[in-house]
């Protein structure tokens, strides 16, 4: 790669012109780094992912429909998407509360709580799964107080929701926290001077500012939840039609060497993930626009 940034222009027509600044790549290594990165992405991600697509294209439409729309698979979609939506909605409130408390208030152990928020990212999902199961089982620390009232959480769809709440906690907190930190106190002060109550200020000033971040966090938690496997299978009970998530359906089909069926269901999940990815990107663009307009 050439390193010259100054080039004296010596073409006859412009001989009197000053030395002209000409942009050239100054820093070396562009070709080799981009080349390697694209090669690596292709081998690890793009080519294998395309295998999923090509495998689906070899199936007849009937085969595909039978695989993705059998009653047992449909029940798993309802459970997976329903439990994920419910868990993400609950996380919306828990996440907002945690972000608010961490940004606005001082209390002992705040740093510890702040660090602990990321535990679901750091703790392997299988560990979270068996821990939650043993907590909520009939003889567990929490389960033993619920059992006398006939409340069963482990091995039911409620257990799945609990596991999905656990793995989704960091998303809303970590998307809302930085935005909440940047909310201009002056606006709140002005509103207070004009006689607004704290609740009015929260609803009319703070909430609109953090709405894009809240929705982004919700969508991320939801996207993570629909693909979640490790933390759910221990607590779910995995009863067909009742507490069997879609990821487990894929694994079940694979174990029976039903590659066509597994691929078909996987494509449905992949399309759902990509739609969510698109929504998340749009939400983030909206958020940038919001914040950009303010400053």
């Amino acid at each position: 790669m050439a390193t010259a940034i100054l080039e004296i222009n010596s073409s006859p027509g412009e001989s009197q012109a000053l030395p002209r600044l000409k942009y050239q790549r100054v820093l070396p290594g562009f070709g080799i780094t981009l080349g390697f990165a694209i090669f690596y992405l292709s081998v690890i991600v793009l080519i294998p992912l395309s295998a999923l697509l090509f495998k689906t294209l070899t199936l007849s439409p009937e085969q595909f429909i039978t695989a993705v729309a059998s009653p047992r698979v449909l029940a798993s979609y309802r459970l997976t998407f329903g439990a994920s939506a419910l868990a993400a909605s609950i996380n919306l409130f828990i996440g907002l509360l945690l972000a608010w408390v961490l940004v606005r208030y001082e209390f002992p152990g705040k740093k510890f709580v702040d660090a602990l928020i990321d535990l679901p990212f750091a703790l392997p999902t299988a560990v979270a799964g068996i821990a939650l199961t043993s907590l909520l089982a009939g003889n567990g620390w929490i389960g033993q107080y619920l059992e006398p009232y006939g409340i069963q959480i482990a091995f039911t769809p409620i257990g799945i929701v609990i596991a999905l709440i656990f793995i989704g906690i960091p998303f809303v907190v970590r998307t809302v926290q930085p935005v909440l930190e940047d909310v201009e106190k002056e606006l709140e002060e002005a509103a207070t001077c004009l006689g607004a109550s704290r609740l009015q200020i929260f609803i009319k000033i703070i909430l609109p500012t953090i709405t894009p971040a809240l929705l982004t966090g919700f969508a991320m938690a939801f996207a993570r939840a629909i693909g979640e496997y490790g933390s759910v299978i221990f607590i779910a009970g995995n009863m067909p039609m009742v507490s069997e998530i879609t990821s487990l359906i894929i694994i079940g089909k694979l174990e029976q060497y039903d590659f066509a069926g597994a691929t078909s269901v996987a494509i449905v999940m992949l399309v759902a993930s990509f739609i969510l990815l698109l929504i998340i990107n749009l939400l983030q663009a909206w958020q940038r626009k919001r914040l950009g307009m303010k400053s």
Binding site: Y40, L41, I94, A122, W141, S247
Partner: protein
């Protein structure tokens, strides 16, 4: 309060009443206790429920020991691979301009939106007995699925974005001025990277590596699909936890799980330290 009168606004004017404040804090701490602290504590309590001797036995069991070694081995291969990718991708994206950059960055994030089980499945379709290269691999007696190579590739897939997505925004924000200066003064590419870029991205690099490490040691779904669960051979620690738990050896399962939980706590500690370092650096240069 008298000392506050000179400041523009009394602090309490835009704060909630102490009553609301403490209710919110209590509620938040209650959730943290219930959803985060209690599950974490359970892992260690269950692991040690039958005494330290039983705990040690569970960890020293040959199958568990081989799972621990396999997990460490996979991480030791996966991290350098994704580190190389992260550095090259970040160098290309942040120090150069090219068409389709935004699309390239989106592609890097792709593995995060693919569910782990689907991630495992795609390699079965490519390398499995009935897959694209299945026949060729069997003819040459090469095992990828249900063997170590498959587990490594699946782990590389799920951890691929961590280091790159940490480095790209960091290196973009630092621009190219320092590297250009080094180059003009005669440094070659390696010297520029080693003496100028690397010291600037040190903390971001560590951050990405520990997140990549935590996920690669803890990955369950993707590895479960390609491992085949062969005891003592293709069982990583999370898979060993599953097997022991399903065999009603809860104490042994939690003993292995406690090691993974310790890793998670260590990860959080290093992460907090790095964040503190970064905010300190930001304050100095602000």
């Amino acid at each position: 309060m008298s000392s506050n009168k000179l400041s523009t606004t009394p602090a309490h004017a835009v704060d909630e009443s102490p009553w609301v404040k403490w209710v919110l804090i209590t509620l938040a701490l209650f959730f943290v206790f219930l959803f985060l602290l209690l599950p974490l504590t359970t892992v260690f309590a269950e692991a040690l429920s039958k005494g330290f001797q039983v705990y040690l036995q569970a960890v020293e069991d040959p199958d568990s020991w081989s799972a621990i070694k396999l997990t460490l081995g996979i991480a030791a291969i996966v991290i350098p691979l994704n580190l190389t990718f992260g550095l090259t991708a970040a160098w290309a994206v942040s120090k150069h301009d090219f068409k389709g950059k935004a699309f390239f960055i989106t592609l890097i994030d792709l593995p995060f939106s693919v569910s782990p089980v689907v991630a495992g499945l795609i390699y079965v379709l490519v390398f499995g007995a009935n897959g694209w290269f299945g026949g060729w691999l069997i003819a040459h007696d090469i095992k990828i699925i249900f063997a170590l190579p498959g587990m490594i590739i699946a782990t590389v897939f799920v951890t691929l974005p961590f280091i790159a997505r940490e480095l790209i925004p960091l290196m973009q924000s630092q621009g190219t001025d320092e590297e250009q200066a080094a180059t003009v003064l005669g440094a070659n590419g390696w010297q520029t990277f080693w003496h100028v870029t690397l010291p600037n991205i040190k903390w971001g690099l560590i951050y990405g590596v520990i997140l990549c490490n935590a996920r690669s040691m803890g990955e369950f779904g993707a590895v479960a699909v390609v491992s085949g669960h062969i005891r003592g051979q293709t069982n990583t620690m999370p898979l060993q936890v599953e097997i022991l738990y399903n065999e009603y050896q809860a104490t042994a399962a939690f003993a292995i799980a406690s090691l993974l939980a310790l890793l998670a706590l260590l990860t959080l500690a290093i992460k907090s330290f790095v964040e503190w370092q970064q905010s300190r650096i930001k304050r100095i240069y602000a």
